[in-house]
């Protein structure tokens, strides 16, 4: 099955790390795109987010979240059936 969650991040950003740790701890598969070393990824991030120049940008299917707030992300994952509790 295709991975439905993408995290655009930089290696120095604590919120990105928290988002990734949260997903990993819940067993949600995700693709991590380091936009610092990957200019193509940065372009993609800015395209999907309507020009955001901040990390993390988290994409869950068709939903784009700019910034990380655990409760928001958990709610969307739950709505998408990606989180069981």
């Amino acid at each position: 099955m295709a991975v439905r969650v993408k995290v655009f991040s930089t290696p120095t950003c604590p919120y990105c790390k928290q988002a990734k740790e949260f997903l990993a701890s819940k067993g949600v598969a995700f693709e991590d795109i380091d936009v610092m070393s990957n200019p193509q990824g940065l372009k993609e991030m800015r395209a999907v987010s309507g020009g955001a120049r901040t990390v993390p940008v988290i994409v869950i299917d068709d939903v784009v979240i700019i910034g990380y707030e655990e409760t928001d992300m958990a709610r969307i994952l739950r709505e998408k059936g990606l989180l069981n509790n």
Binding site: T10, P11, T12, C13, P14, Y15, C16, K17, Q18, E21, V35, M36, L42, G51, A52, R53, T54, V55, I66, G67, E69, E70, T71, D72
Partner: protein, 401 residues
Amino acid sequence: MSSFPKVTIYTVKGCPFCDNVKALFKEKGIEFHEVDAPPQSDQWFDLVKKTGSGALPQILVGDEVVGGYLDVIFYEASGILYQKLGIIPSEDHRKVETLYDVIILGAGPAGLSAAIYSARKVLKTLVISGNIGGQVTWTYDIDNYLGFSQVNAQDLIRKFKEHVEKYGVETIIGQEVISADITGRIKRVTTSDGRSFYGKTLIIATGGQHKRLNIPGEKELLGRGVSYCSTCDAPLFAEAEVAVIGGGNSALEAVIDLIPIAKHVYLISLTELTGDPLLQNRVKQAKSVDIFVRHKPLAIIGKQEVEAIEILSLDENKTKTLTVEGVFVEIGIMPNSSLFVDVLATNEKGEIIVDEMCRTGVTGVFACGDVTSVPYKQVVVAAGEGAKAALSAYNYLINRK
């Protein structure tokens, strides 16, 4: 219900507590009859005759005087109001509200530490917070917390959280508290989803947030060039011209983060630089940095994203526009005290002034951590203050009757 409402509310236009009272009765589905009673009017003299007081609002149930807004909160939370109205609070009228011994606002180190002390005193405790961890979630490692020579910030928060959960403290996470009535015997706080919670005491541990410039363009272009986290977003500005606002250590560190990445960095400070001389030297020596001290940012300009920043020279009273793609705002932390500034004493920074027992001056209301005037904003200090606030709340509860 009788055809004519039993509750009478005397009000006057433009009085916020009058609106609060009406909103409360509406929320609880209790009918009332409103009498507009501007001072010196016939209605007002009538009120004074009935109650002996001309204060507005005044609430009467039948002929019995309940008092003002704070009295209504107390009557409502304690159930007395429903007794007087002769109604059994049904699901529609009122879910039987829990009266907590302690409501703690904020789940940073201060609030969580308070929760542990409060729970261990077997006080019925509720923690309400936007998130868990507070400012600790903004950083990677904490190097100076007792017992850990270096600890990952995320792990430290997880440990705090597990510790609190072990005592079965009730928590509501992910909700902002949007209003608080704290001067009465019973404290009432309302969250952004419209629910209210009642407590005999309140511990304010709402910490701090990034200070804003409050200039045009800042809010509109947040995440589109405006950033409060240079460690996060600096790598997205490769080969760009950027501005850093501020003159203290966090601003200087942001410049140092940006030097190897950006094409050019403007450092803009309202005052002379105040950060460590060592950091100042590194910034001053960098070729790609221009420093504007005694300059005030006026506006951030851009349609879809940041295009420029306008600054004013305080000495020459001249404005200048710098072409930049990014603006990093690093002007410090401000206390999250805005809900309380009308009622509690605060210092010039907006920090809530507390005494050595974390008392605020309003009985039953305590404050701790970065939101207070206690100096040295550190995790270990916040945790210690949280413990003190909870013990003070406990002492207050056993001594009041």
